[in-house]
């Protein structure tokens, strides 16, 4: 399987490279010649004012959009046009700005859904739920229980996610992404709409995922305080262009970033 290659990359080496990527919808340019990279094992943030092209960038990385120009190299392989499920099978998982879970299903079932691509038996055996398929399901269940324990959501294991408060739904969504055992995890505003306590919990989980599973994380987030605390490196976009790239300290003192956020007299 293709994602095995990502194991060959040592921590600190480049896992994903975005080179001169441009994306346009009709005449509207969402991203213009953006280049940056994500190193294995780091937490990389993409920030920028509203409409800067952050979510478009994530969508390009996970194959939901194909760039008009430029190249994306993931785990040493420059990829042609691809579909989101191909990205998923290569080890890229994501969560969404607006929670995208199966609302009528329980927390456990939602996380189990994240294991779909890891199932080896075909649909026929799964439906029979017999023999090797059953053994396999038990294996997957064990893995999901580890995630449930990790994210401290034991108490809502059997609760339909539609009934859960927003903060917990976000956590379940993270759980489903983790169930894919991703090499690269894309988080689209994991803390949007959360209160301070929920934000701190989520920050801790992001750091723990990074430490414990060694997962490389790319995240979009509006709360600058959170971003500065969490990230190893930050890319700043404005109007679809990259205006800065570096450590939190470097980005914080960059005049272009300050202007972008505070506004500047033209």
């Amino acid at each position: 399987m293709t994602h095995h290659r990502s194991d060959d990359i040592a921590p600190g080496d480049i896992l994903l490279a975005v080179e001169n990527v441009s994306l346009a919808f009709g005449g509207v340019k969402a991203i213009t010649e953006v280049s940056f990279d994500i190193r294995k094992g780091e937490i990389r943030a993409i920030i920028g004012p509203n409409g800067a092209g952050k979510t478009s960038m994530l969508n390009v990385i996970n194959g939901f959009y194909n760039p008009n120009e430029g190249r994306i190299t993931f785990a040493g392989r420059t990829r042609p046009r691809m579909k989101p499920y191909e990205a998923a099978s290569q080890g890229i998982a994501r969560t969404f700005q607006n929670v995208a879970l199966f609302k009528g299903m329980s927390t456990l079932d939602n996380i189990m859904a994240g294991r779909t691509l890891k199932m080896r038996r075909n649909f026929f055996w799964q439906a029979l739920r017999h023999g090797p398929a059953l053994d396999e399901e038990i294996e997957h269940r064990k893995f999901c229980e580890e995630i449930i324990d990790f994210l401290e959501i034991e108490h809502i294991r059997k609760t339909p996610v539609g009934k859960l408060p927003y903060g917990l739904q976000k956590r379940v969504e993270l759980g489903r992404a983790l169930a894919m055992e991703p090499t690269l995890l894309l988080l689209d505003e994991p803390m949007a709409g959360m209160n301070l306590e929920e934000k701190e919990d989520m920050s801790r989980f992001v750091i723990d995922v990074n430490n414990h599973y060694g997962t490389t994380i790319a995240l979009i987030e509006h709360d600058i305080g959170v971003v500065m605390d969490l990230s190893d490196r930050i890319v700043v976009l404005e109007y679809g262009r990259k205006i800065a790239d570096g450590t939190p300290a470097e980005v914080k003192s960059d005049q272009k970033v300050i202007d972008a956020y505070l506004g500047v007299a033209h």
Partner: protein
């Protein structure tokens, strides 16, 4: 088979552990729901873990008299750590897991702790953050690795690794097992078994020192009193550092040989309760109260037929349930009706609450409302009251099966002597009586009388049927300027029996009249608001709503009516009240860790409100600092309405007029 001499030789918990491993080695001792599945350890397996851990502890220098702090939730590993420390004649010191870093550091420092066994990163962080205050601290042992990967491991050891090492020693070296036997045999009844820190209702918490023989004797008495055996099972969900958990679960389990199940997490207790179905259960009144509130709310949302059936059979239970439970005569028709009700309502309800198998349940800590108490009893749950203290190693009084009332706490527990002092304070002497307060001889002397009785600090009296009634803390009973007796807790409890009122603080000592500050119960008032189309965005907004105020005013009026009926209390009716804009919280120091109101502290903190209650204002501004769970501070400000109450004429006076 146990002869008297054999029994008296089992005077420490490790000796009981070894006995259980030999006598009932294959029976379950501990359960823990891990990764969604209940894991079980038999007494033999559990004792193996304890022995292994004891060897590893000895290896890092734990010995006779050393203090080993245990910080965390109810986990098998932490219970093994307690037993392993006791095996080495070291002293376990459990600390409340929700204590903030400073409180934790105080206990660790005060108790001269050498080793800390912490559950997870959160606890380890708290310990490490105050490490420079703890010169004696040599090692931190932890249970859950998560988040600790990147920590400096020089002074951090995983407990699983220690047990592994101990097991390896046991496996390859027969001398290791012999060493454990020698440790256990060396244990003496007068050894310090454990130091339990009080929750600190007044000032700093104190370390209450327990002797091994006293602890075992006390637990043996109550195991016999409630006929507990190795067929029983409990869910150990009470705070590990509280005497209730150490006594009811740990000590009684070791004496009786029953099984102790540890919940998956604090949030899953309700589900775990249902899965385990304990036979012996303890909960403070507020737990029973919130369960009932939840049941009632769910019933409000149920369909018409179900609602009707529920209310009909609950009425049947209210009338006959307690009589049937206590074995008193009841007509055949009533018994039949109750049996049908049991089939349709009581049994399913008990099952949903996890109370299906309960033989004995206790409540204590606060007064319990008569309605609340009899609700559970009428379902056929043998709920009783006890009165106890850390200093007694729990039991001072407890009610016998069949002689149970809500307004009293029962006669003296087995082998306990009780005396009422001239000023009404309750004094007792018991087998489990504490030895001393750790490093505080003055306090010890203050608390003990010359003939060895303990001053409880509670005022009470014996009823005609020999059951003790507690009125209030002896020092809290005050007087109004008029000279009328003012028992704040008595008034607060009457208010708290309304499901809409969560907490109340009465003020009145040396004042002209009585006033109260009230906390509403968000669950029930919120549900009421939903049903009545009252919209609100926050606790503060709901608490300040005029219709909520009206509702609470009715409750206060009812309390005044009930006070007016009691000659002693009639002159201490509530003259004015207000609803607080925030919930009282232990993190802000307003409640103790066991959720008791700290009256003095609150009076200080809310001084502007108290002043307004007495200067005739109609409302008052208040700004309070709050502490978030991570220890950071913020502030809430509010304008609070004050309501005047009509005084009710005492019943006697009404007749005279």
């Amino acid at each position: 088979m146990t002869t008297a001499s054999e029994h008296s030789s089992l005077d420490t918990f490790p000796k009981l552990y070894a006995r259980n491993a030999k006598l009932r080695g294959a029976r379950p001792a501990l359960r823990f729901k891990d990764r969604g599945i209940w894991q079980t350890w038999s007494w033999a397996q559990s004792w193996d873990q304890v022995r292994a851990l004891a060897l590893a502890f000895a290896d890092i220098g734990v010995g006779h008299g050393d203090k080993v702090a245990i910080v965390g939730a109810n986990r098998p590993a932490l219970y093994w750590a307690i037993a392993a420390a006791q095996t080495l004649r070291a002293v376990p010191v459990p600390v409340y897991a929700d204590a903030v870093a400073d409180e934790l550091a105080y206990v660790l420092e005060n108790a001269d702790v050498k080793i800390v066994v912490a559950q997870d990163q959160e606890q380890v962080d708290k310990v490490l953050s105050s490490a420079e205050r703890l010169p004696l601290l040599a090692h931190v042992v932890y249970d859950e690795e998560r988040g600790l990967e990147a920590y400096d491991k020089a002074r951090l050891t995983p407990i699983a690794g220690m047990i592994e090492r101990g097991r390896a020693m046991l496996a390859k070296d027969p001398a290791a097992a012999a060493r454990i036997e020698a440790y256990v045999a060396a244990g003496r009844g007068e050894d310090v078994s454990i130091i339990l820190y009080t929750s600190g209702t007044t000032g700093r918490s104190k370390g209450v020192v327990m002797s091994a023989a006293g602890s075992v004797a006390a637990a043996s008495d109550t195991v016999a009193f409630d006929h507990l055996s190795d067929n029983d099972e409990v869910l150990a969900y009470l705070p590990l550092a509280w005497v209730g958990d150490h006594y009811l679960n740990y000590a009684q389990a070791l004496v009786a040989g029953f099984c102790m199940a540890c919940p998956e997490s604090a949030d899953t207790v309700q589900q775990d309760l249902r899965e385990i179905g304990p036979t012996f259960y303890f909960a403070p009144p507020r737990v029973f109260e919130s369960l009932l509130t939840r049941v009632m709310i769910r019933m409000e949302d149920a369909g018409g037929l179900k609602k009707k059936m529920f209310h009909h059979y609950i009425a049947v239970a209210r009338q006959w349930g307690e009589k049937i439970l206590d074995g008193k005569p009841a007509p055949f028709g009533a018994r039949l009706s109750y049996a049908i009700g049991n089939l349709l309502v009581y049994a399913p309800l008990k099952n949903a609450l996890g109370f299906s198998r309960i033989r004995t349940a206790y409540t204590a800590g606060e007064a319990i409302g008569a309605d609340l108490f009899s609700f559970y009893r009428s379902l056929g749950i043998n709920l009783k009251q006890l009165y106890g203290q850390t200093e007694a190693f729990l039991y001072v009084t407890c009610q016998k099966d069949g002689a149970v009332r809500s307004d009293a706490v029962g006669p003296a527990a087995p082998n306990v002597a009780i005396r009422i002092a001239d000023d009404g304070e309750v004094l007792f002497k018991s087998p489990g009586r504490f030895v001393e307060y750790y490093k505080d001889a003055d306090k010890t002397r203050e608390t003990l009388t010359e003939d060895g009785f303990v001053k409880t600090g509670d005022a009470g009296f014996f009823d005609t049927d020999g059951q003790l009634r507690i009125i209030d803390r002896a020092k809290d009973v005050g007087k109004l300027k008029s000279g009328a007796m003012f028992a704040p807790k008595y008034i607060e409890n009457k208010l708290k029996f309304f499901p809409n009122i969560k907490e109340a603080v009465a003020v009145g000592d040396a004042k002209d009249f009585v006033t109260v500050m009230i906390n509403i119960e968000l669950a029930s008032v919120g549900n009421w608001a939903e049903r009545n189309n009252v919209s609100y965005a926050s606790y503060q907004e709901l608490a300040g709503h005029p219709r909520v105020n009206e509702m609470i005013e009715k409750h206060v009026d009812e309390v005044n009516r009930s006070l007016a009926r009691e000659p002693m209390m009639a002159r201490a009716q509530i003259a004015r009240f207000l609803i607080l804009h925030k919930e009282l919280d232990a993190d802000d120091g307003e409640l103790t860790r066991t959720q008791k109101v700290r009256r003095g502290f609150i009076a200080e903190r809310y001084a502007p409100l108290v002043n307004a209650l007495y200067d005739g204002s109609k409302n008052a501004d208040i700004r309070t600092e709050v502490t978030f769970e991570d220890g950071r501070k913020g502030a809430i400000s509010a304008n609070v309405r004050i309501t005047d109450m009509k005084m009710i004429a005492p019943e006697g006076a009404e007749k005279a007029a």
